[in-house]
Symmetry: C3
Subunit: 307 residues, 3 copies
C-alpha cells in the first residue's frame, strides 16, 4: 500500500516526509513505557511514510534524545531510513546542568558544538540531518553561529541547518552570514495560532522556496479541551463538519490538512505517542482540501469574515 504522505525537498540533497513526528512528549506519555514502545512508534511512522523525526536537546528535560537513542541503538538499521532533526541553544535549569542558574539561550560556538556532541551521543547516531537554532537569542553573534555550522558540517556531524521561532529579520541576519540556505524555520501555527500566515513569516518561506516546519499544529491540547474557549467553540463544529465531508478519522486530521494546504508547503510535526494515531494522521495528506472549506475554517478561527 503506498502512503499518502509525500516528500518535501528541504535542500538540494535532503527531503523530509510531508509530516514529521516530534519527540517532545516522549518522556511524559503513559503510552510509552519502554524501548519497545518507542520502536513500535518508529515503525508505525516509517510504515506510514513518515521518516522525519524531530528532537531538541532540551525535550523532556534533556531526556528525550537519549530515550529515543536507546531504542535506535537496538535497531540501528533504521537510522538510514530516517531524517533526524534536533535543536540547540535553549539552556534550562536542571540538576544535570548545574551551571545553569536561569533558563536562557546560548548560541555561542562552544555551546553549539557541545550540544551537538551530546545530541549525537544521546541519539546513538554519528550524524544529524538537520540542526536548528531553537530560539532567537538576543545575544546571537551571527558570525559565530556561522562558524559553528561550518565546523559541524566539515566534520560531517551535521548535514543541514535551520532555525526555529525566528522572525523574518532574525532569519535574514543569520542567513546573511551563511554560504548555504537555511533549510527551514520551525514555527508554531495552527487554526488557533494564525500569526505566521499573516506576519510575513510564511511569505518569506514561500519567497525563498523554503519549507517551514510547524510545531503545535493542533494548538497543543487546546483544540480538544472541554472547557469554554470561544475560538475553539467556533472552530470545532466546522472541523467536525469537514471531518465528515472528507471522511477523515478526526478533527486533528482536518486541522493538519488545513495547514498542508498552505502555499509555503509546511511540514507539520505530529506530537502523538500512540502508534495507531500515526496512520490516521497520514490520512491528512491524502485529501484535496477545497479552497472554500479552507476559508470556512479560517473565518471560524478569526471570528470574522474576510474583509
Amino acid at each position: 500500500m503506498s502512503s499518502p504522505v509525500s516528500r518535501r525537498r528541504m535542500t538540494k540533497d535532503l527531503s523530509f516526509s510531508q509530516l514529521a513526528w516530534g519527540a517532545w512528549r516522549l518522556r511524559n506519555s503513559s503510552d510509552i513505557k519502554n524501548t519497545a514502545d518507542i520502536l513500535a512508534l518508529v515503525h508505525a511512522c516509517l510504515d506510514a511514510g513518515i521518516s522525519t523525526f524531530d528532537h531538541a536537546d532540551v525535550y523532556g528535560g534533556y531526556g528525550c534524545e537519549a530515550y529515543f537513542g536507546g531504542a535506535l541503538a537496538k535497531a540501528p538499521e533504521l537510522r538510514s531510513k530516517m531524517e533526524i532533526v534536533t535543536k540547540c541553544s535553549v539552556a534550562l535549569v536542571k540538576d544535570t546542568r548545574p551551571d545553569h542558574r536561569i533558563n536562557h539561550y546560548n548560541t555561542t560556538k562552544a555551546h553549539i558544538l557541545l550540544s551537538v556532541e551530546n545530541s549525537l551521543r544521546n541519539l546513538a547516531t554519528d550524524y544529524i540531518d538537520m540542526l536548528l537554532i531553537h530560539r532567537p537569542d538576543p545575544l546571537m553573534i551571527a558570525d559565530e553561529v556561522a562558524e559553528a555550522f561550518n565546523e559541524l558540517h566539515r566534520m560531517g556531524k551535521v548535514r543541514h541547518f535551520g532555525v526555529s521561532n525566528f522572525t523574518p529579520s532574525q532569519f535574514n541576519l543569520l542567513q546573511s552570514r551563511l554560504d548555504t540556505p537555511l533549510a527551514t524555520n520551525q514555527v508554531e501555527c495552527s487554526v488557533l495560532e494564525l500569526a505566521p500566515i499573516f506576519d510575513g513569516t510564511f511569505d518569506q518561506m514561500q519567497q525563498r522556496q523554503t519549507h517551514p516546519m510547524i510545531w503545535s499544529p493542533l494548538g497543543g491540547a487546546r483544540l480538544f479541551n472541554t472547557k469554554a474557549d470561544p475560538t475553539v467553540d467556533r472552530v470545532r463544529p466546522v472541523l467536525e463538519r469537514m471531518r465528515d465531508k472528507y471522511n477523515l478519522p478526526g478533527i486533528a486530521e482536518v486541522a493538519i490538512a488545513w495547514l498542508l494546504r498552505l502555499p509555503c508547503q509546511p511540514v507539520p510535526v505530529l506530537g502523538t505517542m500512540k502508534a495507531h494515531r500515526i496512520a490516521d494522521a497520514a490520512a491528512s495528506c491524502g485529501i484535496q482540501f477545497d479552497r472554500q472549506d479552507w476559508f470556512e475554517i479560517l473565518v471560524a478561527a478569526q471570528g470574522h469574515s474576510v474583509p
Copy 2:
C-alpha cells in the same frame, strides 16, 4: 483651461491621472439613475483631467463593471482617453455566483483568467490597463499568479499588473516571481487611517518609485458624520481652517491635498458620484500644501504632538 490634475508615471509606458475616479458606489447612488448619468460623470472626469477609472469585479455585487460598460458601449470613442483599472480575487456569496458558499479569495490561474474575461465583457473593452490582485490571499501561490499575469499580458488582455491591500512582504513575495515591476499597491489611507504612512507600506513604494493608489481617501463617510467621534472632532476644525486658507471648495479637498503631499506621490481614488464634485476635487491638485499645515493635520489626526 488647463487642469491642475497632473500625471503620475505608473510604469515605463503607462501614466495615470494624479486622481482616479472609483466605481465602487456606482450602483448604490441616487445620483446615478441611468447610462446618461454615468456618461455625464465620465465626461466631468475627463474634462477635469481625471482619466483613470478604478473598478473591481465585485463592486456593486458584481454589478458596477457592467453598468459602467453599458455607458462606455454608447461612447466607445472615450475608451482611448481613459485608463481602466480593475481587480480580481475576491469571491463573494451572490446568487449570480451559485458556487460561492462563503466570501473568500481566489488567486488561482483559472479564477484570474475567468475574472478578466468577465471584466472585459462587462466593461465593453478589449483590454484592461491595470489589473490588481484585490486582497492578499493566504493561499496565494505566487508562481501561479505570475503565470496568469504572463498569459493575460501575452494575449493583450491586460497591459500592467499591481496589487491592493498587500503588506510589504506580500508585495515582495509576488514581485519575486515577476519579470516586470508591480505597478501599484492600492491601500486605504486618509487622515483617519494613517497606518501605511508609518508601517513601511509607503516606504516601500517610495523606495521602488512605485505610486500607491489610495482607497477611502476621505475615511469613508466618517469625516462627514455628525455623531461624536473624537478623531473627527479634532481633525475637522483644522481641515476647515485649511479649506479657508487655501481657498478650497470643502474639507474633502483638503483631505485629498493632504494625501497628495506624501512623498510616495499616491493616486487617491475619488468616490463621488456627483459630476459637480469632480471639478471641486481637481482643485486639490492645484495647491502647494505647506509643510507645517500638513503636520497640523497629522497632529490633530494622531491626537498628540510629534515626538
Copy 3:
C-alpha cells in the same frame, strides 16, 4: 592609566568611543554653571576615553550647541581629539524660530543645509563628524536628503551621515538613495525599553555591521525614581545584585554594561552632567558580562521567563 573604553569602527575611516557623551541636558543642569564647567566635563570625558560628543540643533531649545561651542572656542585644541555628532530635522516652536507655528519635522535640502550652517557656527567648528536625521519625517523625499548629504560632504562640512529613530524600512529607503552606508541609527534602548532588540532594528544593524547609538540608556530618570513602577521594582534589585557582583559603581553602570553586551555593539550616549560620574560610567566597559546574568536582567525587565 589606559581606559576600559574601547573604540567602535563606525565607517571605513571614522571610529567612535564605545560610550558617547550627550549634550541634551547641558542647559538644564545645575551642575553646569559656566564654560569652565563644560570644559571640565569635556576633559573628564577625554580622560576617560570618551571622545564622541552627541548633539542636536534642538537640544536645550536650540541652545546646547552654542553653549558647548562657547567652551570649545576657548580650547580649540580639543576639537581634533573629539568626534562631534549632531542632528537636524526636528523643528520646534520657539521665539528664536518665529516661522515655526507647530513642532514638526523638516528634511528638505534647504532646511538640512541651513541647520548644518547653524550647527557649525554654534559648535565653533568647521566640520561635523556625523550628521543624523533626528526623526523619520513622513514627508521625507529620500532623493532630496541624499542631495543635501552629498553637498555637505563635498563642501567638507559633514564627514559622515546617519539617522535616528528610524524603522528598518525607513532606514532602507534612505540608504537606497545613498552611495555610502548610513553610519548609525540612534535609537532608544534600555532595560526599560527593549523594543529594538526584538523588532528588527538591531537585527538590521548587526546584519549591516553598523553600530547603533543608544539614547536614554538608563530609561530617563525612571530607573532611579522612588515612586512605584512594577518594571523598575523587578529590575532594580537585580541590577543592585549585579553591581555588587561586578564591583561596579552603581546600577547605572550595570544598565550600560547590559547594553554593551548586545551583539550589534552599540554606542550608548551618557546623559550625565557630573564630571565625577564620567569615570564611573567608563567602568561599564571594563567587565565581561556573563550571559546568564544578562538573561536574569532581561527576564526581570520582561516580567516573564524566556519561552
